[in-house]
Symmetry: D2
Subunit: 156 residues, 4 copies
């Protein structure tokens, strides 16, 4: 854990479910659970987004911030903001959702996804109160593990 590095800042094109842009810098002091997803990724719909919703409901907002990060790296033509808004509504996602900044170069990966070197979706990144990245999990993580790890970081 001593080796934990500072988490790169989010690069966000636009936000849903919040009336002002968020940043990791501004969230310093809280644990952040960053759920990277794509709305057309079946594993995200079935496992990751329901977990994110439950995490958001379980913990105190002053201790933990849940953020969805829509990281489009395939089917760009389908993954528009209009579709995402409908997806968020249908899946009843109440937490702030960042639309990852498209790649500036020729990378297929949007900017935040690239900075975190994510391998796909779903990916869960957890950042501690000091802004250090403490978890990077590609694929579904068991609820018991997520609950325990987030609570341990909140208690630090």
């Amino acid at each position: 854990m001593n080796e934990a590095v500072q988490a790169p800042e989010l690069a966000v094109k636009s936000w849903l479910n919040t009336d002002h842009p968020l940043s990791l810098g501004a969230l310093r002091g809280r644990v952040v659970a960053l759920y990277a997803f794509q709305m057309l990724c079946p594993g995200c719909v079935q496992y990751s987004m329901p977990q994110a919703r439950q995490v958001d409901a379980l913990f105190d907002k002053s201790d933990l911030a849940v953020i969805g990060l829509h990281t489009v790296f395939e089917h760009h033509e389908a993954n528009t903001e209009a579709v995402l808004k409908a997806f968020v509504h249908e899946n009843r996602l109440p937490f702030p959702i960042a639309i990852d900044m498209p790649a500036v170069n020729e990378s297929p990966f949007p900017t935040t996804m690239y900075r975190y070197q994510m391998r796909g979706t779903p990916t869960l990144i957890v950042i501690d109160r000091e802004g250090r990245q403490r978890k990077h999990k590609f694929g579904h993580e068991h609820d018991l593990v997520v609950g325990a790890e987030l609570a341990a970081l909140i208690a630090e």
Copy 2:
């Protein structure tokens, strides 16, 4: 069962996963499992489309045709054909998928959905070899029941 009525014909704007348009008339002689869905409906992603895929894999194509029917009645701006193609790819749906014909009048419901008086998605309609509607189920139907009912109709 004697009261079963002839199933209304599909009204289709366009098809995916087939190089020629289908019709109930042309499918006469086979049982048809018609899965009405919307790609942004969580219950469709979690339960209905996986079941449709398994039904499609289980039965002989000469006995049973699985057809997906994309019945958009909300979030029209999001439910474009481009998005649907990506959805079909990501959810690995191999069966023909009909895009329901938009309403001609001011109804919020597309034409086939209206003809069948569906209440929402997911909905499963089953049509026998004679073209008669034998099942109309709104919401998820248990796998055991679906397997038994389809096999019984195939055996008629």
Copy 3:
């Protein structure tokens, strides 16, 4: 399917949930779903017995008979009839349950289990209206498949 062989008769020490002994001979004319289980087998408790209960509820008794077969081949000291009665009550199993006849020789396997050459529990055996064995599945079988196969045999 032409190769289907006559199913060996059950060898039963005693019955629960029926006031008279059953036999495959006497059930001729009906499809039989024979669920071999052990009450201390976790897969039986989680998957097999719930499926047996649903199969029993779904089909007409004149078409299909569900029979549980308690095939003890380990933990003999624990698998007494008193415990089985409590298990049947707690798991709300309404169908007749046969206690397999203990081995007459030094086999670890009870008699019916041996006759059917079962490899363990849970095992599902399906017998058609003519008394022929048509399915032998060790481990859990998908609900959709079970529903379809039973309905097809009922319709023969």
Copy 4:
């Protein structure tokens, strides 16, 4: 949380999976997750024991002790120690398991169950490092909640 009361000591007839008797007194300094169960209770087999096994695997033994408590209040004739040993083996439960002391009076409930005023099985009791009872949950508790609560108590 200030109102948390000291957890009553366990009253144990005998132990499995440990070569010496345990007590809450001797476990002081660790968080204790006490899983009360009956082996013939379907909800215990399906949900509670798998969770107990995962909790036992997740946390450091120096922080948390998982204890199973077999609280027989029905089917006494079936719930013998021999059956329990087979159950523990089949369900691969690695943690210490206490057999609750039978009632001394005419209560249907064994002694520890009575002391904790449990309403049935499964029940999860959580005790903090100071020996105070901090959770009493009848029925299944969500993995996310259990993980978070145990980690928070460990961190106190």
